[in-house]
């Protein structure tokens, strides 16, 4: 058994590891410093770069904003003008082209044996409800998977119906006399012509012979009076 006395002072003792403590301390400090510098430098770079971007964006916005606002105002004005012009277009679409109607009546009617005694056109203003949107979701759907005691699924409010559109509807009444043995045939043919005529087909919704009767009891005077009534579809202000 070897026994020896340790005569070393504590400050004379040396670290026994592979790397000295001083190296570990220096390496850690330098690594930490480098990491802090790198992260800090990146953060600073990022900060100033963002600020630069912001300054550029502010400058850009300062240049763009007045023109942008001006264009927004112009778009508002355009919207307003469009609404007014559309309203006027509606007036044009809703009206009945009376010249075309009367000219076509003149062309269709045989001067003999039919004579008109009274032609009237009466317009009625009303409101037409446009058809509802068909692909709208159903207001309430039952949960099928829940069986008989199925709880209604979350109900969605029913879609708002589109606003009603003002429209004109015209009633055209033609009253007249027809002469001769075949007078009634002439009236029926005239009525059919009104229904078939390509010019008037789009104008009329319905054409009906309302009445055909003898004008007087005198046998010699073979004269009948008739009334035909036609109705146009709703001519919408749109």
């Amino acid at each position: 058994m070897k026994v020896h006395v340790n005569l070393l002072h504590p400050d004379e003792q040396r670290y026994q590891g592979l790397v000295s403590l001083r190296f570990i301390f220096l390496a850690s400090t330098i690594t930490l410093a480098v990491v802090i510098i790198l992260v800090g430098g990146f953060a600073l770079y990022s900060f100033f770069s963002k600020r630069q971007d912001l300054l550029w964006a502010r400058d850009q916005w300062k240049k763009t904003e007045p023109l942008y606002k001006q264009l927004l105002t112009l778009q508002q004005e355009q919207k307003r003008l469009k609404a007014v012009v559309n309203e006027l277009d509606g007036w044009n679409h809703a009206r009945l082209p009376t010249y075309t109607l009367l000219a076509e009546l003149q062309r269709l009617v045989a001067p003999h044996p039919i004579q008109f005694s009274h032609v009237t056109v009466m317009g009625e203003r009303g409101m037409v409800q446009p058809p509802a949107v068909t692909n709208a979701p159903k207001a309430e759907v039952k949960d099928e998977s829940a069986g008989d005691g199925g709880v209604p699924a979350k109900s969605t409010p029913p879609p708002k119906p589109p606003p009603a559109i003002p429209a004109w509807r015209f009633r055209i009444t033609i009253a007249g006399h027809v002469f001769g043995e075949e007078g009634h045939t002439a009236v029926v043919m005239f009525n059919e012509q009104l229904q078939r005529d390509s010019q008037l087909a789009a104008t009329f919704d319905s054409v009906r012979l309302q009445g055909l009767s003898r004008a007087s009891r005198e046998v010699q005077r073979n004269e009948q009076v008739f009334t035909i009534e036609a109705l146009t579809p709703f001519r919408k202000f749109e």
Binding site: K50, L88, Q106
Partner: protein
């Protein structure tokens, strides 16, 4: 660089502790007064930058359409000006305008007018909130069917907004050629005084 804490004097230890405390305080102050405001400001800048980019993008899209918007607005304005000048009576001067229109049309068509009367503005169904209200005029005349056709053709061609809302042509026993004609014509009239239209270039001139 071997520092042995136990070998340091009391004063040296105090100085070392003070230096340590000083470094910590310095770091805390640096964080509080430099890093934290910088981070806050960076966050604020980031938000502002995002907003500005969104706005710039939106503006770019609108500005892309500038030419079209200006052209469309100018075209609409022209249409409205034409309509206002030629087809719509001036505000508050309805019957004289309509009378002038009817007599001028009748003159062109070679028709004699018996009477023109005004029914005034009509608050009809669907006119609430509209820019134009119907203004109704009643006209009576005696003319042949051919004259009536010429008159209606002239009226409807000259003014695409004039609407014949009622028409009555009645044959007369005494005179087969000339019929008693009554018609109602409606015109769009301003519901309230029209707003003075802005010129398209007005905004550009502003500083």
């Amino acid at each position: 660089m071997n520092i042995n804490w136990s070998s340091l004097t009391k004063e040296q230890k105090q100085v070392a502790v003070l230096i340590g405390i000083g470094v910590v305080v310095l770091l805390a102050l640096l964080y509080q007064f430099a890093l934290q405001p910088m981070a806050d400001s960076a966050e604020q800048h980031k938000r502002e930058l995002v907003d500005l980019r969104v706005n710039i993008e939106k503006a770019a899209k609108v500005l892309e359409q500038e030419g079209r918007t200006r052209a469309d607005t100018a075209a609409l304005k022209d249409r409205l000006e034409t309509a206002t000048k030629s087809f719509i009576p001036a505000f508050g001067n309805l019957l004289s305008w309509a009378t002038e229109q009817i007599y001028q049309t009748a003159h062109e068509a070679g028709v004699d007018i018996d009477s023109v009367s005004g029914g005034g503005q009509v608050m009809a169904a669907g006119t609430e909130g509209q820019t134009f209200l119907p203004f109704s005029t009643q006209v009576t005349m005696q003319c042949s069917y051919a004259d009536l056709l010429r008159f209606l053709h002239a009226l409807e061609t000259k003014n695409p907004l004039a609407t014949v809302t009622a028409l009555s042509v009645e044959g007369r026993e005494q005179n087969w050629e000339h019929h008693q004609v009554g018609l109602s014509v409606e015109w769009p009239s301003w519901a309230k005084p029209p707003a003075a239209p802005k010129s398209v270039g007005d905004e550009k001139k502003k500083p």
